[in-house]
């Protein structure tokens, strides 16, 4: 469905991605793990066109989207929930969702979707007409995800959805991600919490300083000594003991 072929991206003079290749199949949850600064967020921003690739190619559903601008990528079927949520804080929750459906012409269906999300997430319904800036972090994350879903994407990109949230809310967010998968949305996820990400995803990629160093089924990655040591925090003792 989504395919990146040796993608290079620069942030000013910083060579942030050094030939990243990965793919996401229809119906999968794929996760990208790696340390801070490894380039996870840049991968997502490159896909959605915020920091365009300088070399390499990105195809989505067979279409070349390497040079497609950020405001057009959502029309191609990719919704990106950015790091730090970025809800429209001065707009009401209702208007945030309406803006999520900005690209759609089917006004009635947009209304129906908004009502559906309102029913599905009581947290949103309670504060429907309040400014999004007044929500807590977890509520904003749920709002940001639903806003992205309003565009009816075929691929959803999530950047650190659990960042800064309480364990209880993290659980809630992961529950939402599971439900989305069951409903057939394909998801590309990056997460600080590598263990949780590897448990929910089908396949994973490990990113180090702008390069993919490891990839495979999540079950395999969870058992991988190096991944365990570097990202899962457990099994560390076993490694330095020998």
């Amino acid at each position: 469905m989504l395919k990146l072929k040796s993608v290079h991206t620069y942030y000013g003079n910083i060579h942030a991605l050094r030939g990243v290749s990965l793919h996401v199949n229809q119906g999968e949850i794929v996760t990208l793990i790696g340390a801070n600064g490894a380039g996870k967020t840049t991968v997502l921003k490159t896909i959605s066109g915020i920091t365009p690739a300088s070399r390499g190619s990105i195809t989505f559903e067979g279409r070349d989207v390497t040079k497609v601008a950020a405001e057009e990528i959502v029309r191609a079927g990719i919704s990106h929930v950015p790091e730090g949520r970025k809800v429209f804080s001065t707009l009401s929750l209702r208007d945030n969702l309406e803006m999520g459906g900005f690209i759609r012409r089917d006004k009635k269906e947009v209304q129906a979707d908004m009502e559906r999300f309102k029913k599905k997430f009581p947290i949103l319904a309670d504060r429907w007409n309040q400014m999004a800036g007044t929500l807590s972090g977890g509520e904003q994350q749920i709002l940001a995800i639903t806003r992205a879903l309003m565009a009816r994407p075929r691929l959803l990109i999530l950047d650190e959805p659990s960042m800064g949230l309480s364990p209880l809310l993290v659980k809630e967010i992961f529950k939402i991600i599971k439900v989305l998968r069951e409903e057939g949305t394909t998801i590309l996820l990056i997460e600080q919490n590598a263990r949780a990400a590897l448990h929910i995803a089908d396949r994973g990629y490990v990113l180090e300083t702008g390069k993919i160093v490891l990839q495979g089924k999540c079950r395999m990655l969870l058992e991988h000594e190096e991944v365990k040591r570097a990202y899962l925090g457990k099994g560390y003792r076993e490694v330095w003991e020998d």
């Binding site: 950020a70 405001e71 959502v74 950015p82 429209f88 707009l91 208007d95 309406e98 803006m99 992205a148």
Partner: protein, 300 residues
């Protein structure tokens, strides 16, 4: 000579103040629309008012068009000027800083002033009031009927703008751009179109201000700068970005100026406006109605 009572004088100054203040308010609202979407302070905002006045003069006095037609054509023409300005000076600047773009707007304002001087010369122009020149007497003060038009039209503009930003898809999208341009792009809002709309809309409002004030205060080619300055003062006093603040501060500024001109000396009225602006910036830099939090994040 008949002596006018104090109440009469006060009423007179108040009405004059509110009238001039309405124009400041409209200029301030124009600043805010562009600022909200782009964080640019468009120093050509006063030139839109000047162009609105002079083009209105052309359509009514030279082309002899009926008033409503002339009014609408004036707005359309200046809106076009605003849109062209954005397409040719702001839009081509990729990755320019906000400061660079502000300087560009200053350049554009000088250009507009120069063109206006070539076309209309240096003399001020006047057009007849919209409905008769017989004043109305309220509490001993003579109020021009044009004053009523100014107040009415300003109110209509403010109401329409509020509806636009609160109720329409494009209005909300513009607010979304102001809120977070990156997130706006990610939901598919074409930010550069919103910037274009913001310039066109600001120009339209400037044109309205120019067209309605010309019967009262005349209009000449170099009026823009001072209007922009006062409007900017009102926008800052009201808190950059706040429409409500802009209207209140604009009218407040107009009243203070008018009272100063009436009771002290008209020579000081411009100084009073600037003094007031400095005072507000000193005591409450985010403006009277500005969001303190927001003003910390914004670049200007």
């Amino acid at each position: 000579m008949e002596r006018i009572s104090l109440i009469g004088q006060l009423t007179q100054y108040l009405f004059t103040g509110i009238t001039v203040g309405s124009i400041y308010a409209l200029v301030a609202v124009g600043f805010n629309i562009i600022y909200n979407v782009t964080e640019i302070i468009n120093f050509a905002q006063g030139e839109f008012v000047m162009l609105g006045g002079l083009i209105m003069v052309f359509f009514t006095a030279v082309a002899k068009l009926p008033l409503p037609v002339a009014f609408i054509l004036t707005i359309a023409a200046v809106t076009g000027v605003g849109a062209l300005m954005e397409r040719f000076t702001i839009n081509p600047l990729k990755n320019a800083t906000v400061l660079t773009m502000i300087i560009v707007t200053i350049a554009v304002s000088i250009l507009f002033k120069g063109i206006a001087m070539f076309v209309w010369g240096k003399d001020p122009y006047i057009i007849p009031p919209f409905s008769g020149s017989e004043p109305i007497f309220i509490l001993g003060a003579a109020i021009q009927t044009q004053t009523i038009w100014v107040l009415l039209i300003t109110a209509v503009v403010v109401v329409l703008l509020t509806l636009f930003f609160k109720k329409t898809r494009y209005g909300k999208a513009m607010l979304a751009c102001a809120d977070d341009p990156e997130a706006a792009r990610l939901v598919g809002i074409r930010v550069n179109i919103m910037v274009l709309i913001s310039f066109a809309l600001s120009a339209a409002i400037g044109a309205v201000a120019g067209a309605i004030i010309t019967p009262i205060s005349l209009m000449e080619y170099d009026r823009g700068a001072l209007l922009a300055l006062k409007g900017f003062g009102a926008a800052v006093m009201g808190g950059l970005g706040s429409f409500y603040g802009a209207v209140v501060a604009g009218i407040f500024l107009g009243i203070i100026e008018s009272l100063c001109a009436g009771f002290v000396s008209s020579g000081y009225k411009d100084a009073v406006a600037l003094l007031l602006l400095l005072l507000v910036l000193y005591i409450r830099p985010s403006g009277l109605f500005g969001n303190v939090e927001a003003s910390k994040i914004k670049e200007f």
